[in-house]
């Protein structure tokens, strides 16, 4: 089919109806030391030490910032254990034996309304840095960086689009936690000094619009509105979202703040509220477990540090264990596939997708052009593939095709009629294009 892919068929409306299940905290929790952005880390504890919920137990070091590590349960520090991180690497995890008391750390005291009212953008930046809040939609981009801009912000966009198929974590958060979300938005409005805040949600989620019509009527003149955006993928990409919600087209390579826009994921917004109001780091998050490889797909609200196997067991285990599985953390389009299910829920894991493995027969390219029509940044993936298949690779040609603006949304591979893994070629082309 010669067709531009817009919407990807998913089962969101079905999975999204399942209420979030709050499950018991497991006996052992694991906190990642280093992650994709921070290469090294130090742990402040000795084995056997007692930790409290929310206690700062270590520090991750990256090239230009440090990120504190917080305990997400109270208990005893057992030691370091190696598991798979969301990024696909094996890293050291801090193992904590849960004492099921959830004793709060003494540092965790609620801020009073007066204290909060005095906070400026710079103060909030400090708070978020201390609580190591990152983009919880999956980007894991440090949130405080977005607060460091001096530019005037006219519009706040709250990203509740969740354009990846199958995932319903943000959808459940929007439905179940509107109060915290709106409190978070009000903090953002205060920090950026802007009145206009828009929650962006896909058109098809009628139930969210119905709910927020009621909820927002309790906040007159708050400036918070909910705007419907397209049902297509990658609508959650910030440039696509900004264009749909405000009509402003931010050129690739420019920051939204240059155009007076700040955008945050909805779960990050709730995290901001948690950090500012309760001085609490993110210790819980919404995770959806789905795919055709699990018995019963479910939405969970889980403690950060829960082993994934624990959640799979809560879903009834694997379906058809004789079929090999693909194990994905994140969405099916951009999520990382792990070679083992021995991994841990970190702050930025939005979903666990277990799919029965399917191999596709790769055919020669018939130049149908679907990838070119579908590419959201206007690249020509098939030309990049042809340039990369030449031997030797013509570097100037690869550079002229500009693969560096690729956002790796995966649509080219998704829509390929010949089932060619085009994104792999584009990834390699990116490496080639970076060469001098």
């Amino acid at each position: 089919m010669i067709l531009k892919t817009r919407a990807i068929k998913d089962n969101k409306l079905q999975l999204g109806e399942i209420p979030t299940e709050k499950i018991d905290v497991p006996a052992f929790l694991f906190i990642a030391t280093n992650n994709a952005r921070c290469a090294t880390a130090e742990v402040y504890l000795q084995p056997g030490a007692h930790v409290n919920l929310g206690q700062r137990i270590g520090m991750r070091h990256a090239s230009f910032f440090d990120q504190p590590i917080h305990a997400t349960a109270s208990g005893t520090f057992v030691g370091l254990e190696k598991h798979y991180h969301r990024s696909g690497k094996i890293v050291d995890f801090i193992k904590i034996q849960n004492d099921f008391q959830d004793t709060l750390d003494p540092s965790i005291v609620d801020r009073t309304e007066e204290e909060i009212a005095k906070l400026t953008r710079a103060d909030m930046s400090e708070i978020l840095k201390d609580d190591s809040l990152v983009g919880l939609g999956g980007s894991s981009f440090p949130t405080y960086v977005k607060f460091q801009t001096d530019r005037p912000i006219k519009t706040l966009l709250l990203n509740g689009i969740e354009c990846e198929p199958f995932i319903t974590a943000d959808q459940r958060l929007l439905l179940e936690d509107p109060a915290d979300l709106i409190a978070g938005i009000q903090l953002l409005q205060q920090a950026f000094g802007c009145h206009d805040a828009r929650i962006c949600v896909k058109k098809k989620h009628r139930e969210i619009f119905d709910l927020y019509a009621k909820v927002l009527s309790a906040y007159p003149n708050s400036g918070i509105t909910i705007v419907p955006v397209g049902n297509f993928y990658p609508q959650g990409w910030e440039i696509a979202m900004i264009q749909s919600a405000t009509g402003i087209l931010v050129p690739v390579g420019h920051l939204p703040s240059e155009y007076g826009i700040a955008n945050f994921n909805v779960s990050t917004t709730v995290g901001i509220y948690l950090a500012v109001k309760h001085r609490m780091p993110v210790y819980e998050r919404y995770v959806s477990v789905c795919g055709n490889g699990v018995m019963s797909p479910k939405n969970f609200s889980v403690r950060v540090g829960t082993p994934v196997k624990y959640l799979i067991d809560k879903c009834g285990g694997y379906k058809d264990p004789e079929i090999p599985k693909v194990f994905i953390l994140g969405g099916p389009m951009m999520g990382a596939s792990l070679p083992s299910d021995d991994c841990i829920i970190t702050k930025t894991v939005t979903s666990i997708i277990v799919m029965n493995e399917r191999t596709y027969l790769e055919e020669p390219c018939i130049r149908c052009g679907s990838c070119v029509f579908s590419c959201p940044v206007g690249l020509q993936p098939v030309q990049i593939m042809n340039a990369m298949r030449q031997t030797p690779v013509d570097k100037s040609k690869v550079k002229a095709l500009n693969p560096l603006i690729c956002i790796e949304c995966g649509l080219c591979t998704y829509c390929c009629t010949s089932k060619i893994p085009l994104l792999e070629y584009v990834r390699r082309a990116k490496i080639v294009a970076k060469l001098p």
Binding site: I8, P321, C368, E408
Partner: protein, 425 residues
């Protein structure tokens, strides 16, 4: 339970190359059905021979390309054959089938193989299957089209030229004088069995006077296919049915077909205005209608220029590609002097195929419509228009050979040259 690591994305769209080819076959089926009903055994023969030849050639190609790796050990012939066969996929069958069907549909129903002292005549008009010469022409064209135009380039996806078009041109150039077209449709409804050989004529040459070719068939006749012509191209209703299906299934790109038809109508309308100013009996709209419905314009626009492999990739290039082919077709039709290039469609397709790598050249191809693109889109038809104005405005000795030019001059020759009577070139 095994867990397998794979690169993202982890889901794929459902369509495949095989499905696309099956869709093309379904899209061709109204035309094939028409050919089977009207041309009967001749259509069965032509389609089976051309499809069979192409499929067999592709099969042998698969065997040749997928030889057992040299590992020193002796392998029996059976092993080698089995290894080659294990690389034969469904698409190796479906893709040449589509090429073969298209090639088979642009062959005439019968061939003249007996020289009666003054001209070539059909050997046995009542049973076309016994005509051995026809098999030879069909197989030669199909083999040339598939092997030279596709397999030597590396098979599916690597060819520059449309195999069916190349095969057709080869067969037509070598054996064109033996092609015979007849009004099978009329025969069919008048219960005449076999071929009325006297109706047969070398298409486009001068045995039909200008008035005969223009007046004998109304636009409706052309639309319904009640005219002599090549098997697939005569019935425009069937072609339009196929077009609707292919567009609904998105098997073909509407940009190519639409830009082609738009440019063709635009240029022909201007040419029609000039003709009308010289000879008031020919209306400009009639002129456009006859041009659009005669010959292989619609068949080519639906089934041949839309072949994705030989067309460019980005949407502006595809629009440009359609415009280029249409302009070239119009110029060949109006200004071509030889009988052999009077129709223009097939050569234009090859010209477009040749231009498509140029349109895709990385330094100027873009997936968005740019000012440069739009300028070239406007420039090509305008240039063609200038040529038409210059050529038709001045009294040029236009027209095909064998037509009495003395009476009507330019316009009469133009009308006489209308390739109504079938024929792709």
């Amino acid at each position: 339970m095994d867990i397998i690591k794979e690169a993202s994305p982890h889901i794929r769209r459902r369509d495949t190359v095989d499905r696309m080819m099956v869709d093309l076959i379904i899209g061709l089926s109204p035309v094939i059905l028409f050919a089977f009903v009207v041309y009967q055994l001749a259509a069965v023969r032509n389609l089976f021979v051309s499809v069979g030849t192409m499929v067999l050639a592709e099969f042998i190609y698969v065997l040749i390309v997928n030889r057992l790796p040299k590992d020193g050990a002796k392998h029996s012939l059976g092993e080698k054959f089995k290894y080659g066969c294990s690389h034969y996929r469904l698409s190796n069958f479906l893709v040449p089938t589509v090429s073969g069907l298209i090639y088979g549909l642009i062959t005439p129903a019968c061939f003249a193989s007996v020289w009666n002292g003054s001209s070539w005549v059909i050997a046995n008009p009542y049973n076309p299957l016994t005509d051995g010469y026809a098999y030879f022409v069909l197989i030669a064209g199909a083999l040339f089209g598939l092997v030279i135009a596709k397999l030597v380039f590396g098979g599916t996806g690597h060819n520059i030229f449309n195999p069916a078009a190349v095969g057709f041109i080869f067969a037509k150039e070598c054996f064109g004088s033996r092609y015979r077209v007849a009004n099978y449709f009329a025969n069919y409804f008048n219960n005449i069995t076999g071929v009325d050989a006297t109706t047969g004529s070398t298409f486009l040459s001068g045995s039909f006077s200008s008035s005969a070719s223009y007046a004998n068939y109304s636009l409706l006749d052309l639309f319904l296919g009640v005219t002599p012509g090549l098997m697939g191209e005569v019935c425009k209703v069937a072609i339009l049915l196929g077009l609707v299906y292919l567009l609904l299934r998105r098997t073909i790109d509407w940009r190519v077909t639409l830009s082609f038809l738009g440019t063709f109508v635009f240029l022909m309308f201007f040419a029609g205005l000039i003709v009308n100013s010289k000879d008031a009996s020919i209306g400009a709209f009639d002129f456009v209608g006859y041009q659009l419905l005669s010959g292989g314009v619609l068949f080519g626009a639906v089934y041949m220029i839309t072949d994705p492999v030989t067309s460019p990739i980005t949407s502006p290039s595809r629009v440009l590609y359609g415009i280029l082919i249409a302009s070239s077709t119009v110029l060949i039709r109006l200004l071509g002097r030889s009988d052999y290039v009077k129709e223009g469609m097939c050569f234009s397709i090859l010209i477009g195929n040749m231009a498509s790598p140029v349109l895709d050249y990385y330094k100027w191809s873009s997936s968005k419509f740019t000012v440069k693109n739009l300028l070239s889109m406007a420039a090509i038809p305008l240039l063609a228009l200038l040529v038409i104005l210059w050529a038709l405005g001045v009294s040029l000795p236009l027209g095909s050979s064998g037509i009495d030019n003395s009476a009507g001059g330019t316009t009469a020759a133009l009308v006489a040259g209308l390739p109504i009577l079938g024929g792709w070139i």
